[in-house]
Symmetry: C2
């Protein structure tokens, strides 16, 4: 329980290994054995810490949501102009999409692999609702007449940019989406 533990706990190492493997190869394709091997952990420790693979997937998706949330809030806070604060979300996406290993949206990918109901659905909805609220808030601050509807438009652009980035165009798709968002925002501000 020291401040700087000499070695990360089994739970932390499992989560880090699951994050890498699940995102890179999919939650269904990657088996428990691969995760515990990379984490350097015994199988019993995994089931003691998480209970099931489903719960490990849930923890993986929650971690993805948290780090995404922190990255976006950090980026938004670097600006004061409402227009910049909204558009930087697309800049951050372009940055992510340019990194090696980018493989699109973890939530959508996981949803394509497993039964749409269940933990994946829950976490994906939560992540999506947060994004929607963020866009609505940024749009309201920017003086958009109908922030809720404008947020729906931004989500279409955001989703489209992620798919485009994953399917071949890389960061260019996000840059295209940013330009479209700018046009629409300037047209919607009162």
């Amino acid at each position: 329980m020291s401040v700087a533990s000499p070695r990360k706990s089994a739970r932390e190492r499992l989560l880090a290994a699951a994050d890498e493997l699940f995102y890179a190869e999919g939650v269904h394709s990657v088996g428990i054995d691969r995760v515990i091997e990379r984490a350097g952990v015994a199988k019993a420790s995994l089931y003691s810490a998480f209970g099931s693979k489903d719960e490990l997937i849930r923890a993986y998706l929650r971690g993805r949501h948290e780090s995404r949330r922190a990255r976006i809030l950090g980026g938004v806070s670097r600006f004061t102009d409402p227009r910049d604060r909204l558009l930087v979300v697309f800049d951050l996406l372009a940055e992510s999409a340019g990194k090696p290993g980018f493989r699109g949206c973890a939530f959508y990918n996981a949803g394509s692999e497993v039964d749409p109901s269940g933990v994946v659905r829950e976490e994906a909805d939560h992540n999506r609702d947060w994004t929607r609220s963020l866009f609505a808030e940024l749009a309201r601050d920017a003086g958009v007449a109908d922030p809720a509807e404008f947020a729906e438009e931004m989500i279409v652009l955001y989703d489209g940019a992620i798919v485009g980035a994953r399917q071949g165009r890389g960061p260019l798709a996000a840059i295209t989406a940013r330009a479209m968002a700018a046009v629409l925002l300037d047209a919607a501000r009162r």
Copy 2:
């Protein structure tokens, strides 16, 4: 070899069964046994007709592309006004997204499940290139200054609408995308 065979061939029944099951539950989650059971076909017939599961997946994706292509070309041909011919693509998407059993883009879903390289990647790229060309041609006919760049924008909207439809908003996401496309088109026409 008669014109109207009394019963579809094993290959056709396999393809129909694969189409339903793969799209509804994913190419990875659905096993060979499920496919042959639904098709009412022996396992040896599958391997005699397709050679491997990978080739069955390829045939499934090719069929998806062909039917999508036919549906879109049919919809486009119902109009003569270039603006309508472009926007109807989003109307068709809204129509598809409203049908029960809609589960998003077969190519993206399959790509999330299996190794990104290989047959899925090839077929997804082919489908994507066709869509890009279609949008570019429709944009050129509508008098857009830079049809290639405009096509990239339309693809962002199209992808975003599909994701939005799959993740919860149903046809509404496609209707939002259509409205955005109309705004952008009217602004881009010379």
